[in-house]
């Protein structure tokens, strides 16, 4: 499929909440620079999968290997892993007690202990790239949902992550704001950022994905290039899923 080295390798990942199995032996290999879009009905475990990748959810079995480092080993330093794995959530989760720039610089300055001038310069470049250079000193409550979500992306990017995880980042946005956020992600794809994207925006998925992963009941049901998946899905479950969407 690709000659790029594998950045993220997931083997037989199993996650249970009590008796309930959420991820049922899922395996996946993401090459560097590729964009994987994860689709699937709600409750199929796609959000949980992303959360397992940066240690927000403990897993019961299987292996996650990021850039050669086994994250499911006993003594994983999740704090250092999280600097390499950027994550943006569905809810606009900026810290309301800080300005935009303080939100962005918190990680670089406090976690990565970087030089303030250098981090500030990068933050401003990123803000310019998402068209929000003038909102540096605004508080989150003064921003629209779409702006907040773009800032949240910048906040994750300013840590210089190796991979970005997007968990339904447009799901709670007003429709007219979805586009501005998706464009930011599309630009990231063009720049070669490795990304795992959970979304319900099918048009966008088709446009941005190198590989579509269709999940059902905690496992990968079907995987392939977007054109194949959207025009001729192989499994009945995927056909059913796409039919429901074609209203």
């Amino acid at each position: 499929m690709s000659n790029e080295p594998v950045l993220l390798q997931v083997n037989n990942l199993t996650k249970r909440f009590g008796e309930k199995t959420i991820l049922n032996g899922l395996s996946l290999a993401v090459p560097k620079g590729k964009v994987f879009v994860i689709l699937g009905p709600s409750g199929c475990g796609k959000s949980t999968f992303l959360r397992c990748l940066n240690g927000l959810e403990p897993v019961q079995d299987g292996a996650i290997v990021l850039d050669g480092e086994n994250l499911t080993a006993k003594k994983t330093d999740w704090r250092s892993v999280r600097q390499k794995v950027g994550m943006v959530f569905q809810s606009y989760d900026l810290f309301p007690n800080m300005t935009v720039i303080d939100n962005i610089l918190l990680g670089p300055l406090k976690v990565q202990k970087r030089n303030k001038d250098e981090a500030l310069q990068q933050a401003r470049e990123l803000l310019t790239r998402v068209g929000l250079a003038d909102r540096e000193t605004a508080y989150p409550r003064e921003l629209s949902g779409g702006q907040k979500q773009r800032i949240a992306i910048v906040r994750a990017l300013c840590m210089n992550p190796e991979i970005m995880l997007f968990d339904e980042v447009t799901a709670s946005l007003d429709p007219e704001m979805v586009r501005e956020v998706l464009e930011v992600i599309l630009n990231l794809a063009k720049q070669g950022m490795t990304m795992l994207i959970v979304t319900h925006e099918m048009q966008f998925a088709r446009m941005v994905a190198d590989e579509v992963i269709f999940m059902d009941k905690g496992d990968i049901c079907e995987a392939g290039p977007p054109e194949d998946f959207f025009t001729s899905p192989k499994t009945d479950r995927a056909k059913q899923f796409l039919n429901i969407l074609q209203f």
Binding site: R79, R82, Q83, D93, F95, G107
Partner: protein
């Protein structure tokens, strides 16, 4: 009759004595409030993130101070400790100790409530940035929780101030005790002394407690914006 009675306040050094009594009240209350808030925040945070055993102990501690009347705690520390354990503490130290323990217990519950009422995503996005638990509390959770803590914390502070009235019972010469002494000394000369002395004490308590409520309201308005 009532008109002439007000003179009791200005008789001799009565006014000075009352104000000195107020200073004792204010000093005990202020030190207790500061200690309460400091330990209350610490215990409150531990109750949201500490090891299970610590949580259980802190919970038990809170319940003990809620269930047992403060007067009983004062008696235990003032009368029982010296009698049975030969630990002699001055009435003022006992007051500060009991009030701080009580205040910290109540404050811990206020802080815990405020922290767990924050959206879970706040903690998660902080963790996703790689913040340590300490950094997460220091920069994200505590600043946000403090706003929610303010109204009940001010309420607690005024309760602590008002409850200093109980300290009469262990012999602290605070403002009410001084008032009682003045009333006893002057009741033949001024039959309405009780009215005027207590009215004055009422005003004194109001002067201490009202600014707290005013500050609280102002901060709430400022933070709500």
């Amino acid at each position: 009759m009532l008109n002439s009675g007000i003179d009791v306040l200005f008789q001799g050094i009565n006014l000075q004595r009352l104000l000195l009594g107020l200073w004792v009240t204010a000093r005990i209350a202020l030190i207790s409030i500061i200690l309460s808030f400091f330990f209350g925040i610490l215990f409150g945070v531990l109750r949201t993130t500490g090891p299970k055993a610590v949580k259980v102990v802190l919970r038990l501690y809170l319940e003990l101070f809620r269930i047992i009347p403060i007067l009983v705690w004062l008696f235990v520390f003032y009368f029982v400790l010296p009698a049975d354990f030969e630990i002699n503490l001055s009435a003022e130290v006992v007051s500060i100790l009991v009030f701080s323990l009580w205040g910290a217990a109540e404050m811990s519950d206020i802080v815990r409530g405020a922290v767990i009422s924050l959206p879970v995503h706040q903690a998660e996005s902080g963790k996703a940035l790689g913040l340590s638990v300490w950094q997460l509390y220091r920069h994200v959770l505590i600043p946000q929780a403090m706003k929610r803590t303010l109204p009940p914390a001010i309420n607690l502070a005024t309760r602590l101030i008002k409850t200093t009235a109980l300290l009469v019972m262990i012999g602290v010469i605070e403002v009410i005790k001084v008032g009682q002494q003045i009333i006893e000394q002057s009741s033949t000369e001024y039959p309405t002394a009780a009215f005027w002395v207590y009215a004055f004490i009422f005003v004194l308590y109001f002067i201490i407690c009202y600014p707290l409520s005013a500050v609280s309201r102002r901060l709430e308005r400022k933070w709500a914006a």
